[in-house]
């Protein structure tokens, strides 16, 4: 029987990073994947959506570019070509991961893993033994048991990435990150989009003020908040609105994006402790079984690709290196790649209030920024908010809505991780002109002293 130092099941941004890090330490690693290398992120999530969103944004900017001198005639959006570009991107990255595994001497095995016990995994007819096991099986779109949810025109985020034609109308059930990104994409390429959200605001992790502006800026999308979907028919979606009135909207396609569930089926033999949100782990990503670690979406702690990658590093460090490393969740940035973009890191005021932390905050308008004004114009909306501890002045949260947000937000993570205070951030030199200067402006708005 082949024996490994580590077997990793699942090759998403959690699994493949774990395999890569362990391989680079000279460990004997087996990475098992039932689909494609890269998991949901590379194949059906982060990457393909970014490819499509970028093409749609280019299309939109060109259409609206007349105000700053861009005249285009006969402009159209070719979905087939956009999909081909997307596919090429995905395949390139996928093979890149394969190369990465090879160069780190990670053995890759394609097939469904059967967990025999914490030290043995079977693929096909072969059993592989291991000292340590990392479960990185990810999550899948959750389809609630609504009548009509099995109809052919009801798609999840997986299937909608292979539509062959841009629909006239699209109803999106669920206004989370996935719902909002697809709403943004399809509205940019001409679809009439309706987002039906059960809560009274979209994007729960976003500051309320920002979410409101986000809805306003996504002009082509109709948001139905506080609405409960009752039934999906071949013609459209039936829901009860916030006032309790039954409504119907016609829709050619329906996207079901109400959330994701951890992939925990088949893990029974490991006798892991599994909560509703995922496999229970400690801050070293260790499960109740000492040699089994669970990282990424499957533990439900933070359903983000970069969280999974960090969890992979923490787990590998605890297995093969120092046990000093712990997973910290207080400074994990998130981003929505819609138009406009939004990003955040740390606490919102609502969350701070829930935890009983007294905070102070300042919001600045992006149009006060040189670069933003130059590129977006006077009427565009955008916000930057900095939240700090009311007594210690430690930066607790940074929220952005506007261009480059996703590229700037790592800086906020650095501020929060380093526990910098308002006065410390004011001493950092930000490049000019850049939208990032607004973070410094917000800090000065919180405290004008030098």
């Amino acid at each position: 029987m082949e024996t490994y130092d580590l077997i990793v099941v699942g090759s998403g941004p959690g699994g493949y990073v774990a395999a890569e890090r362990a391989g680079s330490l000279g460990k004997r690693v087996l990475l098992i994947e039932k689909g494609y290398l890269g998991g949901v992120c590379t194949n059906w999530g982060c990457i393909p959506t970014k490819s499509l969103l970028h093409s749609a944004k280019q299309y939109r900017h060109t259409l609206e570019g007349e105000q700053y001198g861009l005249e285009a005639k006969g402009l159209s959006y070719n979905l087939t070509k956009a999909m081909a570009w997307k596919q090429d991107t995905v395949e390139t990255l996928r093979s890149g991961i394969g190369f990465l595994m090879k160069s780190n001497k990670v053995e890759t095995l394609f097939g469904e893993a059967q967990f025999i016990d914490p030290h043995h995994v079977k693929v096909g007819d072969t059993v592989y033994a291991t000292d340590f096991l990392i479960v990185a099986t990810g999550s899948s779109p959750f389809v609630p048991p609504i009548e009509g949810s099995k109809l052919a025109h009801v798609l999840t985020s997986d299937e909608i990435l292979s539509v062959e034609k841009i629909p006239e109308t699209l109803a999106i059930i669920g206004g989370g990150v996935i719902g909002v990104e697809f709403a943004s994409y399809f509205s940019m390429v001409g679809t009439k989009v309706t987002v039906i959200e059960m809560m009274d605001e979209i994007l729960p992790m976003m500051d309320g003020e920002f979410a409101k502006l986000m809805r306003r800026e996504m002009k082509g999308v109709d948001f139905k908040l506080g609405c409960k979907v009752e039934e999906i028919t071949p013609e459209g979606v039936v829901y009860t609105d916030a006032k309790g009135v039954r409504q119907t909207i016609a829709s050619e396609l329906v996207l079901m994006s109400v959330g994701r569930r951890p992939n925990v089926a088949g893990l029974e033999n490991l006798k892991l402790e599994i909560a509703r949100t995922g496999i229970a782990v400690n801050d070293r990503l260790q499960t109740n079984i000492a040699n089994v670690y669970a990282i990424g979406d499957v533990n439900g702690k933070s359903l983000l690709a970069h969280s999974a990658s960090r969890m992979a590093e923490v787990a590998i460090s605890n297995i093969f290196g120092t046990t000093r490393q712990r997973m910290r969740y207080n400074a994990i940035p998130w981003a929505v790649y819609s138009l406009p973009e939004g990003a955040g890191c740390g606490l919102t005021e609502t969350e701070a209030a829930k935890r009983g932390i007294a905070v102070k905050s300042q919001t600045v308008q992006m149009r006060s920024n040189g670069r933003f004004l130059a590129e977006q114009g006077k009427r565009a909306g955008g916000l930057v908010k900095v939240i700090a501890d009311a007594t210690t002045n430690v930066i607790l949260g940074v929220h952005l809505l506007g261009p480059y947000s996703s590229e700037m937000i790592w800086g906020a993570a650095a501020l929060i991780e380093a526990e910098l205070r308002i006065q410390d951030v004011k001493e950092i030199v930000f490049p000019h002109p850049s939208v990032s200067e607004l973070i410094k402006d917000a800090c000065f708005a919180l405290d004008h002293t030098l």
Binding site: R324, R328, T392, E417, A418, E419, L420, R421
Partner: protein, 441 residues
């Protein structure tokens, strides 16, 4: 010719003494036998007398300094005489802090004086040069002392700006490694500094209204404070209470009191009788006539009874040596001799050390039972209470009241178990109940 006065040798076990208070200052005239200073050993306070006559030319140590015995502490000579002071103090300190490893692994037998517990001189010097407040340091030295290593740790420790501010403002200490990025110490990682048990930081000023008298803690009070705290901190104390039939005790005492004075028994007290019973009972229970030293226990074949004694200077514990071989009369006489010496302050360190078991009697105050604190490293201590009447039901159902004496046995559960202690206490109760028979043995 100037003469040096040395710290006198105080028995065989005392290696150093702490100067509590100087009674003289430079320029004072002293005669041989004049008390120059009081000094304390870990057992008692002694007076250091001048061994020379003349004028005090120099005092070589400050109050609070710990001085090894036979080391010069003062110089006495003709006024104006030139003195070459070869002070041992700085050299001693160098040695003490010179080797950090040694300090951490095995605290030197010359322990620092209480005043300096908290930080070593090197730590203080380094902290001051780096501008690090001592209060913000995490102490890893013996007895919670901040040592040089702690300062170096703090100096090289990556604290976040918020953590540094919180440490300074709130006097919190940073652990060696934090939970932040790259092991940075976050504000939430800070902890309250470890305070040495012997030098607790107490509220600086009382809030009570009215006149306040400040009494410095020194001498016997300080020794007692340290030893009691060490006892409570270092042992697992458990106390058993019982009452022994005191009829024989009382009638014997009454008999002695009425006896002819030439027999020399009229002054035999109830306490003497209890001490006698304890001395005989311990012989059968060697586990209680013992010292617990952590990695080993010492059992003694002789019973050296410590006797807690209340004096004006504070609590002293003189020792009745080889009590198991002494007659009741001999015990009684030895107790009186020792108590008298303690009260006048002339008990020697030898007389105040070496006990294997201690008895503390507060019965004369009407206390029935209490929880005596172990006189470490002893395994047990007996508290003796007052005599009270206890109802007793005879076989025929008649109830009578019988005098009983309170016995409280505190034992170190590290060394012995509850049942052992119960057996010992039961034997003692039986021996006290039939003390008249025990005397005949």
């Amino acid at each position: 010719m100037a003469q040096q006065v040395v710290m006198p040798k105080q028995g065989n076990s005392v290696e150093s003494c702490i100067i509590v208070e100087w009674n003289v200052k430079v320029g004072d005239k002293v005669a041989i036998g004049d008390v120059l200073c009081s000094a304390e050993t870990d057992k008692s306070t002694i007076d250091v007398e001048s061994t020379a006559e003349g004028s005090v030319l120099a005092l070589l140590y400050k109050e609070g300094d710990e001085v090894p015995v036979m080391v010069p502490i003062a110089v006495v000579g003709e006024p104006g005489e030139k003195v070459e002071v070869a002070s041992a103090a700085p050299a001693e300190q160098e040695k003490e802090v010179g080797n950090l490893e040694e300090m951490v692994v095995a605290p030197l037998s010359v322990t620092p004086s209480q005043e300096s517990t908290g930080s070593s001189p090197r730590a203080r010097a380094l902290a001051s040069s780096l501008g690090i407040p001592l209060s913000s340091l995490y102490a890893t030295g013996p007895k919670g002392r901040v040592i040089e290593r702690d300062v170096l740790n703090a100096a090289s420790q990556p604290l976040t700006p918020a953590a540094r501010e919180a440490a300074l403002k709130q006097g919190l200490a940073a652990p060696v490694a934090g939970s932040g990025i790259g092991g940075r110490v976050l504000a939430s990682d800070l902890v309250s500094p470890v305070v040495a048990p012997a030098a607790p930081s107490l509220p600086s000023s009382p809030t009570a209204e009215g006149p306040v008298t400040e009494i410095p803690v020194k001498g016997v009070r300080k020794v007692t404070a340290r030893r009691m705290m060490a006892s409570i901190h270092g042992t697992c104390q458990l106390t058993l209470h019982a009452f022994a039939d005191a009829r024989a005790l009382k009638s014997l005492r009454a008999g002695f009191k009425a006896s002819k004075s030439e027999l020399g028994l009229t002054d035999v007290t109830l306490n003497d009788l209890v001490l006698f019973a304890v001395s005989r009972t311990l012989v059968d229970f060697p586990a209680f006539n013992a010292h617990f030293l952590g990695d080993k226990m010492l059992r003694f074949s002789s019973v050296h009874l410590g006797m807690a004694t209340d004096t004006e200077r504070g609590l002293l514990v003189p020792v009745i040596r080889n009590s198991q071989n002494m007659s009741l009369k001999a015990i009684s006489l030895e107790v009186k001799r020792l108590v008298a010496k303690c009260k006048e302050g002339s008990a020697t360190p030898e007389e105040l050390s070496g006990s294997t078991f201690t008895v503390s009697n507060v019965g004369s105050f009407g206390i029935e039972a209490f929880t005596p604190v172990l006189n470490v490293p002893e395994v047990a201590i007996l508290g003796v209470g007052t005599i009270v009447l206890k109802p007793n039901e005879a076989k025929d159902g008649t109830v009578s009241f019988i005098p009983h004496i309170g016995l409280s046995l505190t034992m170190d559960h590290q060394a012995v178990d509850g049942a052992d202690a119960a057996r010992f206490l039961k034997a003692l109760m039986d021996n006290i109940a039939s003390i008249d028979l025990l005397l005949a043995l």
